[in-house]
């Protein structure tokens, strides 16, 4: 496994480089564009001289490389992401922490629901291939995937909250409250189809594989065959391919669901921060996302390498 360990180390060594590039690119894009946090914040009172004074106070009038250098030093040496220009009296981790936590909890539910429903659906569809159940199941969830969140959420709110009063119209009351129902559904439904299709495809593959035939020949009950052999071998490829991407989604948050339901999550907040040019907040969010992504990526690649030796092998000599 030496090659593998070395591979992991090599990849991890690249992480700081990635973060550096990502942060510098984001830094430049944000500051290069029109608008800046001071002028955005001030709304209807425009006093260009006052803006200049305040910009100078925050060091925003220095050159971009210089500003970047200062920021980098603060982050690396003190762990200080700098001030938020909008929320002057809070630290950035303090501001985005709770929001990430909210989005995270929302996504956890959606994440698990997606897999919990998607994988069995896919397996059933594969097993029942040929009957009407297979295309029907897939189509139903494919339909859910095709309907945008912008449509499903208002409809759900109208029916379940406004008319039936079963659920609150939004907000976030904690992990175990009814306010989680609509967002979880909205976030998980689209993903189920993808997972189901993947599970179905890989299940189909393994259904024909040797060891399954062997198990059947040995007379093991069909149900056992499916659960113990087929599912186990289908789940891993499914998970490895999709887990990585889903994890990044946890950080990104679900912008639309959060906006429509008035949930204070990181997705909506990132959007607001970009709109109000809160540079340091945007940077922090981007970096966090990048870090999570690199780790997730690494895991996916690792698992793929382990699972399929053909990829790891170089040219046959």
């Amino acid at each position: 496994m030496d090659g593998l360990a070395a591979y992991v180390v090599r990849r991890l060594l690249f992480l700081p480089v990635t973060l550096l590039i990502v942060s510098f690119a984001t830094f430049c894009i944000t500051r290069w564009g029109p608008g800046d946090p001071i002028s955005v914040y001030s709304g209807q009172y425009r006093d260009p001289e006052a803006f200049e004074r305040v910009r100078h106070q925050y060091g925003l009038d220095r050159s971009i490389p210089e500003q970047y250098g200062i920021w980098l030093k603060d982050v690396v040496l003190h762990g200080d992401f700098g001030p938020s220009f909008r929320f002057r009296d809070r630290d950035i981790p303090e501001i985005i922490g709770p929001k990430i936590w909210v989005s995270f909890r929302l996504s956890i539910y959606a994440f698990f629901l997606t897999f919990l429903i998607g994988i069995p659906i896919g397996v059933i569809a594969a097993v029942k291939q040929g009957s009407w159940l297979d295309p029907f199941l897939i189509s139903v969830f494919l339909f859910f995937q095709s309907v945008p969140a912008l449509v499903t959420v208002p409809i759900m709110v109208l029916i379940f909250a406004a008319k039936l009063h079963w659920l609150p119209p939004g907000g976030f009351d904690g992990m175990f409250s009814t306010s989680m129902v609509i967002p979880t559904l909205a976030l998980s439904l689209p993903g189920i189809a993808g997972i189901a299709r993947l599970a179905r495809a890989t299940t189909l593959g393994t259904l024909g594989a040797d060891f399954v035939r062997t198990a059947r020949a040995k007379g093991i009950a069909e149900f056992d065959v499916i659960t113990r052999h087929v599912v186990r071998n289908s789940v891993v490829p499914v998970m490895t391919t999709v887990v990585g991407l889903s994890l990044v989604g946890l950080i990104e948050g679900a912008l639309f669901t959060e906006t429509l339901l008035g949930i204070n999550g990181i997705g909506r907040f990132a959007f607001e921060s970009v709109n109000t040019r809160d540079y340091n907040v945007v940077l922090a969010i981007v970096l966090l996302g990048a870090t999570a992504f690199v780790f997730a990526n690494l895991l996916v690649d690792l698992a793929l390498v382990v699972v399929d030796p053909r990829i790891r092998a170089g040219r046959p000599q």
Binding site: G33, P154, V157, R197, A201, L207, N297, R310
Partner: protein
């Protein structure tokens, strides 16, 4: 090509077992596809949609911005089969023009390299290991670790005015102003940006496949007979990768239509007064409007959902077609 399509093991198996024959894999795939009734149905739906969109100016009974404030929120009638919206605009016409926008948008994506980039880079990375592969992979990693939506917003905020100015300048030269006025210019920027951040998934898939194909007999044979890289890529690898690409493209076209809605909602997509499904859906989604005039949401929602659904089903069918062991 940003969704994982799946079933790679099966794809390798088939493509390894069947070295290049006289008929191209793409052609074979399409023929098999057309044998499936569901796929044909999907293609028909897509065709109707695109036809309605392209011929909207001829077919639509009214202009998309013709207001009649006296007819606000009127129900279906002979003159307005789908009723009118708050400003008295004909919903049938608006939906048709929205379809047109979607046609433009999906075209823009393809042009903006929604599939050229992953394909090209995937082929390159898969076939030429070492430095090139490493570079492409790392670049991909860096690019895709940037959270797409904030970056998109940033790019839009920073570059949009300059880009639109650039396109206008270009239009002045060629004396055609349809690009900016139809909103195409706005969209081109967004989708270029999206492609820039989104090619990685597709690239990976193609690369993985090329890695396996690389050791296939016919490739080795071609190399042994002295064929150059370009020739091998274009004559041997590319055709065998195309089915995968087709699947990816059809699925991502659906995603593109969906993301137009999202982007327009955020104010980054199509600008008013050009109608788009994003605009129509946002109009219809507010609670009171939904309660009292549900058709304003349901009509565009059903149309675009059907389109996305058709694209997805098509992708599914394509996937089945290239996967052995399927029906």
């Amino acid at each position: 090509m940003t969704t994982a399509i799946g079933g790679e093991a099966e794809v390798y198996a088939e493509l390894e077992a069947e070295p290049r024959r006289a008929a191209s894999p793409t052609g074979r795939t399409l023929r098999r596809l057309l044998r499936k009734k569901l796929a044909v149905a999907c293609l028909v739906v897509i065709a109707i949609f695109y036809a309605a969109g392209i011929f909207a100016p001829l077919l639509a009974p009214h202009g998309y911005s013709e207001q009649n404030l006296d007819l606000s929120f009127s129900g279906p009638s002979v003159d307005h089969p789908f009723g009118t919206d708050r400003l008295g605009r004909d919903m049938l016409s608006r939906n048709m023009y929205a379809a047109r926008t979607t046609v433009v948008v999906t075209l823009a994506t393809v042009l903006a390299g929604g599939f050229v980039l992953p394909l090209g880079l995937g082929l390159l990375a898969g076939y030429r290991p070492g430095a090139i592969d490493w570079a492409i992979n790392r670049a991909g990693e860096v690019l895709s670790s940037l959270p797409a939506l904030p970056m998109l917003l940033l790019i839009n905020a920073s570059l949009r005015t300059r880009f639109v100015d650039l396109v206008s300048w270009f239009e002045d030269r060629i004396h055609y102003h349809g690009l900016t006025s139809s909103g195409f210019a706005d969209y081109f920027l967004i989708f270029s940006a999206l492609s820039l951040f989104g090619w990685v998934g597709g690239m990976r898939l193609i690369r993985t496949q090329v890695l396996t194909l690389r050791s296939a007999e016919y490739v080795l044979a071609a190399e042994a007979s002295g064929a150059g890289t370009w020739r091998i890529i274009s004559r041997h690898l590319l055709p065998n990768v195309m089915p995968l690409v087709l699947v990816g493209v059809s699925a991502s076209l659906g995603a593109v239509a969906g993301s137009e809605i999202a982007l327009t909602f955020l104010g980054v997509g199509i600008q008013p007064p050009h109608p788009s499904f994003g605009a129509l859906i946002t109009d219809g989604a507010s609670r009171t409007v939904l309660e009292n005039h549900p058709q304003l949401l349901l009509v565009p929602a059903s149309i675009v959902a059907s389109l996305i659904f058709a694209f997805n089903l098509l992708g599914d069918a394509l996937n089945d077609v290239i996967t052995p062991g399927a029906r």
